[in-house]
Amino acid sequence: MRLLLAVAGLLGATSLFAQGNYEIQVYGAETVAPGDLMVEVHSNFTDIGQKHLIDGIYPTNHQEHETLELTQGINNWFEVGFYIFTSEQDGHGTQWVGDHIRPRIRVPDSWHWPVGVSLSTEIGYQRPVYSLDTWTWELRPIIDKTMGRWYFAVNPALERTWHGPDVAQGLVFAPGAKFSFDFTKQISAGMEYYADYGRLTQIDPLHQQQQQFFLATDLNVSPKWEINVGVGLGVTASTDHFLIKCIVGRRFSWGKHSQVE
């Protein structure tokens, strides 16, 4: 999920969504194994972003975002994630931004579907100095497929503001997609795409849309670890222009599992 920040008046535009930059990730369909806890730290730095204070919202330029994501596997088709968003910036120090909760279900392996499919929904709050839309909701279908050395994932997400100036916008279409190639067992690399097209019923003009491409690599050093590093370019006026992201995740199993478990 990408935390949505409402920014008004950017480059003469009316109200629109700005780049999230808190959790920059295209989801795969797999859920965390039952009983396991996945702990992820998302570190994102906006090197070239919005430089002005608009409607009391801090600019994104040179913001360092640290997000802690905790995901607990409940059974083999259900997990619940919880996020703590923080931001660090010269002049503003380190601040808590908000929290989200994200239940997710998936099609179990025993259904033998040819693609991985899951559906996540995310509800959360963010402070007004980071987003005028303080309560938001997201519905994210997730479809992925591994074919030989290639991996493909698409997240055609829909987002909605529950409290804030964009309540009237209704559903917003904010898809993400990814492909990668396994160069070795440990190193995969490819492209990630994040966008926000605006209202589902009325797509924004291109310069008001967010369009961002990341060159990213996944390092599969161990089944317990998840590492993703990337650099992103925003290609429209409404998108932060240059970001660096890093995700480090570690899987933990509760208790001691014997060989018979």
Binding site: D109, R149, K185, N220, S258, V260, E261
Partner: protein, 435 residues
Amino acid sequence: MGAAFAIRNAEARQVPADYSIEISPHSFEAAPRRTIKTTAYNSQVPGPLLRLKEGKPITIDVTNRTRIPEVLHWHGLFLPPELDGAMEEGTPMIPPDARVRYTFTPRPSGFRWYHTHTFAGRDLSKGQYSGQHGFLYIEPRENPGRYDQEFFLALHDWNGHFLGSEDGSMEPSYDISTINGRVLGFGDPLRVKTGQRVLLHIVNSSATDVHWVAMAGHQFQVIALDGNALPRSTPVPMLRLAPAERVSALVEMNNPGRWILGEVRKHIQAAGMGIVVEYADQSGKPQWQQPAGLSWAYSGFAALGTAPARDPAVVEIPLVFKSKFEGHGNLDRWTINGKSFPDTDTIALHRGQRYRLLLKNDSDDDHPVHLHRHIFELRRISNQETHGVFKDTVLVDAHTQTDVEFTADDPGMTLFHCHQQAHMDKGFMLLFRYA
């Protein structure tokens, strides 16, 4: 050894055979409302028990009623390559709607089995993933064991699908696991009486998975591995069977009740791998006593005393197993000494020579490797010398070395391979030839 040959079609119909096996599509109910569509022998899973007598010639007709060429491997028998049942050795495939008559003199005695030996690839309904497996027992001229009743049990996994595994590649995973084609509680129980000595012959016919089985309230007295008598029979709480391995074990029926004989690992027993053992006049819910861990060691059945020193006349053949990554969405490719079948080197053997295979597993997976048409002796497991245990399939644990010795006494092309279907399909095979 008597004459051994195969004849085809019209010639095979003139005189009735001792046994007939028909390979055909088959549907069966493994669990309530869980029908499995597969290919089986004589429309049953497992196939019929073939009970042969050591040294007595036998004729068996095999008819292929499927749409694809098939081949049937007589696992553990000393047969010439054209009959053994591996096209890599030169056994002709049985075309659709063809019948082949096999005539041979069965040996060696003991618990063997028969199964398909075809390629499956990514189709987890073919090859060893299917129901093409059956028991074959060659009665010895003199029976050394005393027992009151015997049962033949086949462990199998069904409805496979590929999942990403911890080692980064795809591996088959299964929805249903059965004993003799039924999930726990669905098939008939094994009916026994107090005071009986019951002989269990168990084969793991799973295409890929190792299984551990225990019988609540009882222990196993293992008397043979892969059909070969052991020098020492030690009571054990559970059995481990890698794909293609067989265990023959006596159980003293001295604890009346209704018990579960089943997979030790909880999720596999929950998938169905178990069978009820029912004493006469006993009722109630079958009982299971969950072992805390897994235990098994080949060396527990080895001959006592120091293993004989290495004979310098024995020729060593190092075989190193490695995997080659081909993508997180693929199965690994497998190599022996750096080469993948059919590009592996064909190794020359000299008749009468004794060989020591140094099986070095440099991969993250355990491999049940099988030598066709011969029996080998376990001589070293990891760093422990051993002797006296004879087998045709041995599980070589990941990142360990196991040494086995055999005498080249059965001329002809001889296949050596991992019995994990997904591994043999991806190149884990090589051939020995007699010079």
